[in-house]
């Protein structure tokens, strides 16, 4: 069996089994602490956050594995990536999270034809050192909400170290491209999934404890600076910074999470998407479909970005709230310039486009079924998400404590309006062509 097929089947199976065994538990609002032996300490924890990302990462890896053509034996090491990611997703102890994080990184490192082993090792395993230091000085214990609803806070030094670890891991895809210069190889498709574990650790940290006001400020500042850095770098022509841009917005959202649950919901949306969107863009190396792919990727990110922006406005980080959209558009527009040297995986691309457009038009499903349970599990650091309402027939609304509306994203209503406008234009154009006896030859090639 080819490595790609094996990966597709294995990761697909892992996602299915998680849903089969854990969804009934999480669906009832319960959590499950799992020990490796009877009477032993609980090492793993099944909750909304772990299940959401355990499944999302396996689906993303299956998606990436489906494109792998190589029969290289080194690919066997890639098997460590899903194993490491699953350990990280379900880890109850921070040290176990670290072990999973390194295991996933090791899988990538061992599978690469190492032209610069020291630099590559530093790139993949360096952020882990910051993570380890954060765990050592953190001040919060296991990834479980404190007993009796007590409030715990992460130490300020730990917050900075967590941010360093997250940014370091998010930088992996961009540095990998520079170090190995094998941008055309499908191996690099796995990296966005690995990169999304960076901001995920911040989410995991919020299960146990919250940031204090200084931590909120520091993380928002780091995220905003990173986002502006990405925007400036893309203006200067540095490619492949999209995962970093999405991760930066996720860091802003997770930074604001202790002050605004809306921002936490948006961050979870973006961290989840961060594993998929760069994959979809990488699938499309044909410039013919690229504007569609980019637009669909922006559209599916918008509900998450909107939520983070609401969180930033709610907490009076207004400049951050405003620069997010322009910076994101820049990062998307420069992402994945057409190479034309690899075939476009049309079937997978169209399936992904369909899913992205559906999620953009009906974000209520993803918010209620994935993001809200995940944020609900972050009870140690994030408050209740009651101020976000889903109007199932229209879209999302943000409601203030006095029941007044503070923001609205009627995504379904807008999708209907866009569809009606497109149909009207399509028929008008057809009618005019028929009346004036013009043929499609009059249409310039780029518009066909």
């Amino acid at each position: 069996m080819k490595p790609g097929t094996l990966g597709l089947v294995g990761c697909g199976l892992a996602a299915g089994l998680q849903l089969l065994f854990f969804l009934p538990v999480v669906g009832e609002g319960r959590t499950l602490d799992v020990a490796l032996w009877a009477g032993g300490p609980p090492l793993f924890r099944v909750d909304g956050l772990s299940l959401t990302f355990g499944v999302a990462w396996m689906v993303a890896l299956a998606f990436a594995a489906g494109t792998i053509q190589s029969k290289d034996r080194r690919w066997a090491w890639i098997g460590l990536v899903p194993a490491g990611l699953l350990v990280s997703a379900y880890a109850r102890e921070p040290v176990l999270f670290y072990a999973g994080w390194e295991m996933a990184g090791l899988g990538v490192w061992l599978s690469v034809s190492r032209p610069k082993p020291a630099k590559l090792a530093a790139m993949i395993h360096g952020p882990g050192l910051a993570l380890l230091a954060a765990i050592a000085v953190g001040g919060a214990g296991a990834f479980a909400p404190p007993e009796g609803g007590a409030i715990q806070e992460w130490a300020p030094v730990a917050v900075v170290l967590l941010a360093v670890a997250a940014v370091g891991r998010m930088l992996t895809p961009a540095l990998y491209e520079r170090l190995t210069s094998d941008a055309s190889e499908s191996r690099s498709l796995l990296l966005p999934v690995l990169a999304s574990t960076g901001p995920f650790f911040l989410a995991k940290a919020l299960v146990a404890a919250r940031w204090d006001a200084w931590g909120v400020w520091a993380l928002t500042l780091i995220g905003t600076t990173l986002l502006l850095g990405v925007a400036i770098a893309t203006l200067r022509g540095v490619p492949l910074l999209l995962p970093l841009g999405m991760g930066a917005i996720a860091i802003i959202g997770l930074g604001l999470a202790s002050a605004s649950p809306l921002a936490a919901l948006g961050a979870i949306w973006l961290v989840g998407l961060g594993a998929f969107v760069p994959l979809v863009l990488a699938l499309d190396s044909n410039s013919r479909y690229l504007p569609w792919t980019r637009a669909a990727a922006v559209a599916v990110s918008l509900p998450g970005v909107w939520l983070v922006v609401q969180g930033a406005l709610e907490t009076h980080y207004t400049v951050t709230a405003i620069v997010i959209l322009p910076a994101l558009i820049l990062a998307y527009d420069m992402a994945n310039r057409p190479r034309g040297d690899t075939p476009t995986h049309k079937a997978m691309l169209f399936a992904a486009l369909l899913v992205m457009v559906a999620l953009a038009a009906y974000p209520q499903v993803a918010v209620e079924w994935f993001a809200r349970p995940a944020v609900g599990a972050m009870a140690g650091g994030v408050g209740a998400t009651g101020n976000l309402g889903s109007r199932w027939g229209l879209g999302l609304v943000s409601i203030r404590p006095d029941e007044s509306l503070s923001a609205a994203l009627p995504a379904t209503g807008i999708a209907v309006a866009a569809f009606l406008a497109w149909v009207a234009l399509y028929w008008l154009r057809g009618l005019l062509i028929a009346i004036t006896n013009r043929s499609d030859k009059h249409i310039p090639p780029e518009a066909q």
């Binding site: 909107w306 229209l394 609205a408």
Partner: protein, 246 residues
Amino acid sequence: MTPELAQFSDWVLALLPRLFIYPGGLWLLAGVLLVRLAGGGATAIRPGVWLDDLLRTDLPSLALAWVVVALLPLPEASILPSPVDIWVLAALLALSLLLDVGLRNPQGLVIKQTGVAITLAVLAPLAAGDLPITAPNDYLNHAPLAFGLTMAAVVLGVVVILWLGCRGLAGQVRCLAWLGLALAPIYGDMWTISTVWIFGAAVIVALGARGFERIAGTPDDLRGWTRVILWLPACLALGALLLAAL
């Protein structure tokens, strides 16, 4: 009827007049006609030219820009059951820009960067408050300079975009939508009639682009000062953002 279906039905009923009569549809058509007349003279409004433009236009891009005009928070338009954030409308216009196949030319990248600067400018008023649904109350009185800079950034940005070659139908509709969004802070005031302001600004922009072309020549040979002009909308937008935030 379930509440969800009732919400959806109310939305569609309020949407249809907005989409096909005012401010989308007929009103939008009048606006585009005015922009074309001011920008290209009588030849630009001949039926054949319209048809050629429609054949050349990227329909999803045009449809999104049309929807934004239809959803503009104009006080005279029919009331939607759920308002739409200014932020969302700006994001839809950015999407329309990304989708525009007409921008696959050497100037496309600069046009998109200018579009990003305009997006920043129209969002700047949000820095003065925390409600993305409307611009903050009394914004014009509290931050007149920021409003002026926003308008300058949007007008100059649209002039630059038109000069760089984004003159298709989708581009013209986007131009009206951006101006409509930038003028949003004054819609609540008694002394404004939004149509006059938006159409007036659109005519100024179209004439400006025409005049700019005469002075600056074609965008193929960017000279020193025209390169500076390309960065001006972004600088003005940043100024508006900082002033609004203060």
